[in-house]
Assembly symmetry: C2
């Protein structure tokens, strides 16, 4: 049988009210009584039922998190940052991915109405930004971890995409490269525009090839421009995955990296250390973004008003052999 607050009260010879006060350290309890109650709690191994506490208090001490597919290469970092922060605050983390179409979005929505969690962390809500915005308007605290420049009407954490692009350009320029091939992601993403603008502020020359963040798109872009005869002495790929495709195509074409062509990526995934040659890249602080977003949400739940500007964490250029 489960041990309840009533068992503790009986055993300690006090009321449930008093046990509750001890549990929640409400101060106004005689210290002798309090320590007696604490002893009973320990000896009985009593732990309050989270469901009952939640019902009585009207909060769940749980935050929800809605993510894109967990197999995305940097998801583990973000998630780890979130889990660590949430756990340390004594909150639970409820995970949702909604990657099975409308039905799963609906299910998620009803979890929100069911008050299964007090606040929501969101990453890259492909087609759900509208739904999320509606939930936020209804009063659900939300924080977005935003790699793509959505600029929502609720708090978010982002990174310095523009400065990241600029840092890549400065690095290439410093080693005398002036004719970059830029392999972007989809142009409708805010982060892609920012990375591109930052880069071109510094290095306005070169060629732009629109990719889609996949390895294949990096490979195809290089193959096409090599075939075209487009002259380029370097490549700035908007993410590491497409940079891997770039490296592959260059190797296949017999171009040496970095001697013929220097390559810079974006993200700093683990794979960046394992490419041949290892990839110079602009690091996104994914774990820190997860931690920061979780802290913002928890602070908001604790009553601190949320910042009305996105919180922006700095990128960092990581120099490896593909662009020394």
């Amino acid at each position: 049988m489960r041990v309840t607050i009533a068992d503790v009260a009986r055993e300690a010879g006090v009321s449930k009210t008093t046990v509750s006060r001890v549990l929640n350290t409400k101060g106004e309890v005689d210290s002798g009584t309090a320590s007696r109650v604490r002893e009973v709690i320990a000896s009985l191994g009593y732990v309050p039922s989270s469901g009952a506490v939640g019902l009585a208090r009207g909060t769940s001490r749980t935050v929800g998190m809605l993510t894109p597919p967990l197999t995305w290469p940097w998801m583990g970092e973000v998630l780890q940052g979130v889990v660590d922060t949430v756990e340390a605050a004594g909150y639970g983390l409820l995970l949702f991915t909604c990657n099975r179409g409308a039905e799963s979005v609906e299910r998620f929505t009803s979890q929100v109405s069911a008050r299964a969690f007090d606040g929501l962390l969101v990453i890259e809500p492909e087609n759900t930004l509208g739904t999320i915005t509606a939930m936020h308007r209804e009063g659900l605290p939300v924080v977005l971890i935003d790699d793509r420049g959505h600029h929502p009407e609720f708090p978010s954490v982002a990174t310095t995409n523009r400065e990241g692009g600029a840092s890549a350009a400065r690095h290439l320029l410093a080693s005398g490269r002036t004719r970059p091939l830029i392999v972007t992601g989809r142009r409708h993403f805010g982060c892609v525009r920012d990375r591109l603008d930052g880069f071109r502020d510094v290095l306005p020359t070169g060629t732009i090839a629109e990719g889609d963040f996949t390895e294949l798109s990096g490979q195809l872009a290089v193959e096409r421009h090599l075939a075209d005869g487009t002259p380029f002495d370097s490549v700035f790929a908007h993410n590491d995955l497409s940079a891997v495709g770039v490296l592959r195509a260059l190797r296949a074409a017999g171009r040496s990296v970095p001697d013929d062509i220097a390559v810079v990526g974006f993200d700093d995934l683990p794979v960046a250390q394992h490419t041949e040659p290892p990839l110079t890249t602009v690091r996104q602080p994914m774990r820190e973004m997860g931690e920061t977003a979780a802290r913002m949400l928890l602070a908001h739940l604790g009553g601190t008003p949320a910042p009305d500007e996105p919180v922006v964490l700095p990128t960092e250029l990581v120099v490896r052999r593909s662009a020394p």
Copy 2:
């Protein structure tokens, strides 16, 4: 204000009991009454509070999951398999990682006592198998996703490590390799012993180097045996990460893969497609293991007795250029 079952009852002119029966499709309700209630539910946008339902029913319709660091390369696959299955069943998934030492284990333990979830999925519980076993004995349904051969006293899902090792050996033997260097993981892991045994059943010759599943350990093993003058015509690395280190060391030493030395890994991480040359490896069905474990746990929660043998999912040899 939150819409409650009382609001629905009043609006529909019935008792809360009746609304509850409609909600839980208990049959014994007049179909006219039922549809009227359903209309009111829809028009009010009523969703039952999960906390209240959980308290009244004594279950949370939530499963917990305890994982090692989420940045491990194959965690995303497992987690995705679990989340999909759990979501589809209408359950929530509460995530814990306990990677901040004793304090976080304690916190996790108290979540268990708090009945925050009905059952637990566990991956690779480094130092927590004792705790978990105790929880299982106390009545918590548990399923282990087991990459390491723990053979616990509760249900688990595993993969064919022994046959996987054997398939690697058969493949190498078929291309005429007879002097393998085997880079293992830590020998106390059951999976390491199994992979080794399976391999040696087929190919009992060669040299064994104990590694620890890190890239560095693969690299060092090769460097050492190259320096030793140990003759080997192939390498079987017990995971892909150490295989990456193996490839790096071979390249640095000017050995060609696969002409001089063929290399086979284990796992089939995404990186296996991006190494130079791409890595032949034994695929572990991580996503399927996650799905299967989640299904087993849900079935158990639904009353089906759990299988007393581990459920074993097959590995598959994926042939790429490092060992054609």
